[in-house]
Amino acid sequence: MTTETQLKSEHSVEELERVTIRFAGDSGDGMQLTGTQFTRTAAVFGNDLATLPDFPAEIRAPAGSLPGVSGFQISFASTEIYTPGDRPDVLVAMNPAALKTNLGDLKPGGLLIVDKDEFEPTNLKKAAYDTNPLEDGSLAGYQVVPISITRQNELALEGLPLSAKDKFRCRNFYALGLILWLYGRTLDTTIKWATEQFKRRPDILEANLRALRAGYNFGETTELFRVQYRVPPAKVPPGTYRHISGNEATALGFVAASVLSGLPLFYGSYPITPASDILHELSKLKNFGIKTFQAEDEIAAIGAAIGAAYGGHLGLTGTSGPGLALKSEALNLAVMTELPIVVIDVQRAGPSTGMPTKTEQADLLQAMFGRNGDSYVAIVAPCTPSDCFIMAIEAFRIALKHMVPVVFLSDGYLGNGSEPWRIPDISELPRIEWKYADPQEGKFNPYLRDPKTLARPWAVPGQKGLEHRIGGLEKSGETGDISYDPRNHHEMTLARKAKVDRIVDDIPPLEVIGPEEGDLLVLGWGGTYGSITSACENARKRGLSVASAHLRYLNPFPANLGDVLKRYRKVLIPELNTGQLALLIRGRFLVDAIGFNKISGQPFKIAEIEGKIDEVLGLRDEYVLEFTRSAGVSGG
């Protein structure tokens, strides 16, 4: 088999540190699978990598149309990387629509592989091309490699007892085989996967493997490619690794919280993009004692989670922005009854329905303030797909110890993005402390607070002698009886706030990457970690005095945040919103933080943040965001 002979071929081999590839095609072309398979191979090979899928909003847009284009971007490297890459070095376009929607992102001079068989009049018209871009000279700025993928795939599959349609569907494996060859990868991982996946369909297996090998062999024998590329393995800490998406890591983090605490997990959720995968994952794991509840609406989902928390279990609910809006009244009930629930918000773009499949981080102020009355909850935010695992555990650690609702702010970029993850030892994970109320004689006071944390006791039904009544009406301190007493309401409001503030003693300080003091601090939160960290690293390589810090705890802020902010002449806060963290930082610390805001439904590119850094440091004129017309992924 050719897999062992790749380096003996006559092509020269060029070594690269990092490559970014985007696979783009019709949503029926299997681009997500192609990307995933390439990712597995790169991961097993030992590259560091990051990926980002980009699905069309429509489940089945018309074949060949612009809205039907689906993309998958992977960046893989021999060094540590934090993002799926700004602009692809390579674009694989399976039809004219895929070319049209993704070309704007391809690097100038980048490698463009197209299935030339699909550039026929009908498809060109669907993609609104007046002339064939393969022939009209409009692609002159790229290394275009037109390949007859459809036809060659057909030939490779000749004689197999499959329909023409089924054969056509193997084209993605032809393209995959070709790209695997181009980067000197073996077919082993894909063959192993396909053999397992299609074990009940030997005919489909055979067709896919033939297509895969045909693509690979084409690379080997054609003279279209003069070089093969090699991206050596990255130096990463030793351990056992797996690939994980943010939503998977979130689900597993909450499973871990259940195992670590010894309390059963209850997950109430209503299907919503992009959070539904968490429901899918958790609903499979019943052997962990997890009960999932697909509620009739967002309100019922959080109501049920509150009910489970009242019953002494881990009450969890998950949603995206519009769902958080619907949950706000019930979240306030958890604030008032001081029950330890966790609310996941996988943020998406825009107000109202907005752009459900696109990312944004615009729910920070909703999480912080989006409820009636003076209402305080704790807020945590993971910063990478795998960090979702740790922050999920953190969310319940805080909720249970402090008897407080916690909002877990993920986003579509983190949830759908994925990266290799060193599987942690269970012993490395945080401890989760909790206790039910102690049994007692005489009247039980459900609001008698712990003097240190101000947490109230967690008395759960079934505990004898602790029968009590709670609710959304203001309570009298200690007894929990209904109270309209003016002083009591004043004190209870301050106590609920102080309880959240005191969590500060229980969370780690903010870590700074780069100089301890200097010209500029770039402060971020959530899914922008990768692009901010990379941009600041690049700036330092250019000799600039730039540090970065990323907030994973947003309420309360880490204790040292005020000090950190003071150590830099300027503070820049890039956010995928109009300046929500910046507003909090300016209000809390009276720091003249500079906002850098992008609200396009796409993550930051590294270059964008570098551009803004240069502007803030006076090294260039005003940096203006440029928006490509691409509907595809933009790394960052």
Binding site: T240, R242, A256, N287, E329, K464, R469, I470
Partner: protein
């Protein structure tokens, strides 16, 4: 590390206590208006609870918002006064997490059928083992007198000075349509009957829905007086009993029969022959639907159990899936973290 075992097993006390009505009275001053029908419902509930033989700590009352929803403060069990319309959601979560508890939902016509209509519907269709008691006074009391989803068409209230232009809902019909497995109706003043309905609701496994006609003597006084007053009750209400013909009147002299799908009053029916015989256990809800269509003054108002059938409960089915999954091997965190493709970096 493996998945947790349910830690509540040890919390449930095994010894069945001998309790009295007083054990279910709290130290809270009851704050309903004097003369409110809610007092009677509270009293019958407190009288009934000791008969269940369930320890106080294993009983939970969950309510929404409205006059009726103050109820949990006055019952000395676990109690949760939640937010408007959402009591069924909290109760569903609690009962699903902790199927061993006995959970009551206290709601009203506004709370349960207006703002919380969706939740009530879904709790009933899922057959969560909850006891839902809906106090129907056909008015908004706590907000001082606006019409409710059960107010009669044309009713003049504070928010409908020219009369309402909305047709009312019939709560029993909603419960039947949603597939509730136990559906009953009673009246606040008919204390013995009310207590019996509460008891049977609590004993039923699966969702129980009890509509209680409850008089709001401030904003809708006498809403049910025409048929529910003691003096006229026998003539104007018909008590549904499974397997028995529908009879009413001071001396049970009148009956109800069916003409096709239409009920008819048979005055002075000497024999039971031809009279409609109640079947509360029928899977088919057609008969119950015919009965619920009977209204005063054309008919005596039916009270009692419309429907009482057995079906697996939601909480039970969820627990069963969990138990079966665990029986095949309790989840291991180490293993699930390593699921899928892994690779080792030396």
């Amino acid at each position: 590390m493996t998945a947790p075992t349910v830690p509540n097993d040890g919390l449930i006390s095994a010894d069945l206590p001998v309790l009295t009505r007083k054990d279910f009275v709290t130290d809270q001053e009851v704050r309903w208006c004097p003369g409110c029908g809610d007092y009677s419902i509270l009293a019958q509930m407190q009288k009934m609870l000791p008969e269940l033989g369930i320890a106080r700590e294993n009983i939970v009352f969950i309510s929404g918002i409205g006059c009726s929803s103050r109820f949990p403060y006055y019952v000395n069990t676990y109690g949760f006064h939640s937010i408007h319309g959402r009591a069924p959601t909290i109760a569903t979560g609690l009962k699903t997490a902790r199927p061993e508890l006995t959970v009551f939902v206290i709601t009203g016509d506004g709370d349960g059928l207006s703002i919380g209509g969706n939740h009530l519907l879904h709790a009933m269709r899922r057959n969560v083992d909850l006891n839902i008691i809906l106090f129907n006074n056909r008015i908004y009391g706590l907000t001082k007198g606006q019409y409710s989803p059960t107010s009669e068409f044309g009713k003049i209230t504070k928010s409908s000075p020219y009369g309402t232009t909305e047709r009312p809902l019939n709560p029993i019909r909603i419960a039947l349509a949603a597939g509730a497995t136990f559906v009953a109706r009673s009246v606040d003043r008919d204390t013995k009957h009310l207590e019996e309905m509460l008891y049977r609701a609590a004993k039923h496994r699966g969702v129980s829905f009890v509509e209680v006609y409850q008089n709001c003597n401030i904003f809708n006084d006498g809403a049910f007086a025409a048929f529910a007053e003691k003096e006229v009750r026998a003539e104007r209400m018909v008590y549904l009993e499974h397997g028995k013909p529908l009879r009413f009147g001071k001396n049970n002299e009148h009956g109800i029969r069916l003409n096709g799908f239409t009920p008819e009053v048979v005055e002075n029916a000497e024999s039971d022959e031809g009279l409609l015989v109640h079947d509360a256990h029928a899977e088919n809800i057609t008969l119950a639907n015919i009965l619920v269509g009977m209204d005063y003054p054309e008919f005596p108002v039916p009270v009692g159990v419309f429907r009482d059938v057995d079906a697996p409960t939601f909480d039970q089915l969820v627990q069963q899936q969990v138990d079966e999954a665990i029986a095949k091997g309790r989840g291991s965190l180490e293993e699930v973290l390593r699921s899928g493709e892994t690779w080792v970096v030396e």
